[in-house]
């Protein structure tokens, strides 16, 4: 039982870190209906930039972190301008493949600039695990969970209350109608990608600290799909919930099944979960169901 609880709690905390990455994905899908297969690579790129700032150029955290965030925001803007805008209105496969192409470019570019060796992202967090009710919990996981919660609350407020957030929702709902109401759809798209860059950079810092920064960091992006499918592609709350479920299920099942099959359960269980969700309820827990008309 204790083993189960420990697996569950740690899984939930890792799930919050998944949720952080999924948040950026959901944001892009919600506002621009682009499915971003390069999400993991964006996180990796953010991690590379942060690691380079901190260790390669030796900047203090107070300068390096904002600089990395700023760089990733402008990178997001650039992507929207250069790559996504020409593809507006094109079939799904074109957009999917464009982000797959982007993923390939980032995977080649990052090690080319900063080298392929695994880098650290040192954060001023205690390494020793905290002990709560006999459970070992790593401070990093707690910090990541806290960051995710802050972002969740922030985005919740932003989408419900602010003018820009409401405009974003309007664009997500119907681009043409939003345009005719005087919303600048282009700037909304650019803003979305900027925010996605920001969230990815934070994901990169946290995951980079957790796993170390190299091209394998991009594999985090592959876990995003089960998370968002479970939660619903266009729901911020769903991303968090999906993250928690995927984190918990994969950690618990890996703990119990791995000894029998020799590992790898973590890479496989989330996808089974996802297929089942797709069969039963394709729009996820909180996603909007789409009604089709000819």
């Amino acid at each position: 039982m204790e083993f189960f609880l420990e697996l569950l709690v740690n899984g939930l905390l890792v799930g919050m870190m998944y949720a952080l990455v999924a948040l950026s994905f959901v944001l892009i899908y919600k506002a621009t209906s682009v499915i971003n297969f390069a999400q993991g690579e964006l996180v990796m790129f953010g991690g590379f930039i942060a690691a380079a700032m901190l260790t390669h150029y030796g900047l203090p955290l107070a300068i390096a972190l904002p600089a990395a965030l700023g760089l990733m925001i402008s990178f997001g803007f650039t992507l929207e301008r250069g790559m996504l805008r020409p593809l507006i209105g094109r079939p799904v496969i074109a957009i999917i493949m464009a982000t797959v192409g982007l993923a390939s470019i980032l995977r080649g570019l990052a090690p080319m600039i900063w080298g392929a060796a695994t880098k650290d992202v040192p954060l001023p967090l205690p390494v020793r695990p905290l002990v709560l009710f006999d459970l070992f919990i790593s401070p990093l996981n707690l910090a990541a969970a806290a960051a995710s919660l802050v972002f969740l609350a922030g985005f919740g407020y932003f989408f419900k209350k602010t003018r820009t957030g409401i405009a974003m929702r309007a664009v997500a709902d119907d681009q043409q109608a939003a345009m005719s109401m005087g919303i600048k759809v282009g700037s909304i798209f650019a803003l979305t990608w900027g925010i996605a860059g920001l969230v990815s950079a934070i994901g990169g810092v946290i995951w980079g600290n957790f796993l170390g920064v190299d091209t394998h960091l991009a594999l985090v992006g592959l876990k995003v799909f089960p998370v968002v499918i479970l939660g619903g592609l266009d729901s911020v709350l769903g991303a968090i919930l999906g993250g928690l479920i995927v984190g918990a299920v994969e950690n618990v099942s890996a703990g119990f099944i791995d000894p029998y099959v020799g590992g790898g359960t973590k890479d496989f269980i989330p996808y089974v979960l996802m297929i089942i969700t797709l069969m039963i309820r394709p729009s996820g827990f909180f996603g909007r169901e789409i009604i089709e008309r000819v």
Partner: protein
């Protein structure tokens, strides 16, 4: 007899459906056949032939994916995994049960078709990006199954050694003999696809691609045809995987990872979605790209310094960058791919030397 039509002058449905639109097409097909069957094997060495073999295998796989994605509009990111099903089926049949290679080819294709149709089931309810993600799941689940079920993977490193294929007592032991084996399969696959897409089934596929709700209303059984598209496409994938396995004489899952799935998608996008000939162009392009890139990098690097391991690192990264860059370049600037460029050339010469 060597002329091309300069407009649409068809007076019957048969003429409209004809494979050879003008007499010139017959000469062109004959010329390509002679080129592939005689000139390529005679005029090249083993290294170039091995490239031709890789291209041939890629052609089979790319045509299969194009039937599903280009003609039926169902995106699949699990093509590599369906190839793995075919490859491992062939390997197990040949290595453990001593089956001849053509049985392995067909059985590999058939099992891949069954598995592909199974993973295509969700396509009734979900489409577009959801389907893309579901096929992505297929990729990971199949990969995991191959790696972790020891009966399939054979245990060590998920690698099965396959006995050398023989045909009628002749061992296919040289690049040249394997070339003919692959050429025959690729040609059969090409002809079948060309005929499929102008048949009733092919038209149903295209109707589903263009607007599935409308297709259903005019009486196309969407579910059956979507599953059929998955099955045919996966059959091609399975045959390509089996061919690859017999070619390498080894089955290894690393030949069938998600990177491979993405490469096949890139082939049909760069070659041209919804075009059988385009799949061939794309297969050639993507297969030869890393080799050409290597020549270029080695050439430029060689001007300044002797080749080192640093160059190989640069090359590996550059390969990813160029690959991604080309995909985006084609998507933005030439969405219909190389096939469109080929059409431009053809259209130019249609009434040449006159302006119109």
């Amino acid at each position: 007899m060597i002329y091309r039509e300069c407009g649409v002058f068809k007076t019957s449905y048969a003429a409209d459906m004809a494979l050879y639109r003008a007499p010139l097409a017959k000469f062109a097909v004959a010329a390509v056949a002679v080129f592939c069957a005689v000139i390529v094997p005679l005029g090249t060495n083993d290294h170039l032939l091995s490239l031709a073999n890789l291209v041939g295998i890629a052609v089979v796989g790319a045509i299969g994916l194009n039937i599903l994605t280009g003609f039926t509009g169902q995106i699949s990111i699990g093509h590599g995994a369906f190839m793995a099903v075919g490859g491992y089926t062939a390997a197990i049949l040949s290595a453990r049960y001593g089956m001849p290679f053509w049985v392995g080819l067909i059985a590999g294709g058939a099992l891949a078709a069954v598995v592909g149709a199974g993973f295509g089931m969700p396509s009734l309810r979900i489409k577009g990006l959801y389907l893309a993600i579901a096929t992505l799941a297929a990729q990971f689940i199949i990969e995991w199954a191959i790696n972790h079920i020891t009966w399939i993977s054979g245990g060590v490193q998920s690698t099965i050694y396959v006995p050398r294929p023989t045909l009628g007592g002749v061992p296919l032991n040289s690049e040249l003999r394997k070339y003919y084996m692959i050429l025959a399969v690729a040609a059969a696959g090409y002809v079948f696809a060309m005929n499929l897409v102008r048949s009733r089934v092919g038209r149903a596929f295209m109707a589903i691609r263009d607007r599935d709700v409308a297709a259903e209303i005019i009486g196309v059984n969407i579910f059956a045809y979507k599953l059929l598209a998955f099955a045919i496409s996966s059959f091609y994938a399975g045959v390509a995987g089996a061919l690859f396995t017999y070619y390498l004489e080894i089955a290894n899952y690393e030949q069938f990872t998600i990177t491979v799935s993405v490469q096949y998608l890139a082939m049909i996008i760069i070659g041209g979605l919804g075009s059988v000939l385009g799949s061939v162009f794309g297969a050639i392009f993507i297969t030869l790209l890393p080799i050409v890139l290597r020549w270029v990098v080695e050439g430029i690097w060689g001007l300044f310094a002797p080749p080192t391991s640093a160059m190989l690192d640069v090359l590996a990264n550059l390969r990813l960058i160029v690959f991604g860059g080309l995909v985006i370049f084609f998507l933005i600037l030439e969405p219909d791919g190389l096939y469109r460029l080929w059409r431009h050339v053809k259209d130019y010469f249609r009434v040449w030397p006159f302006a119109y």
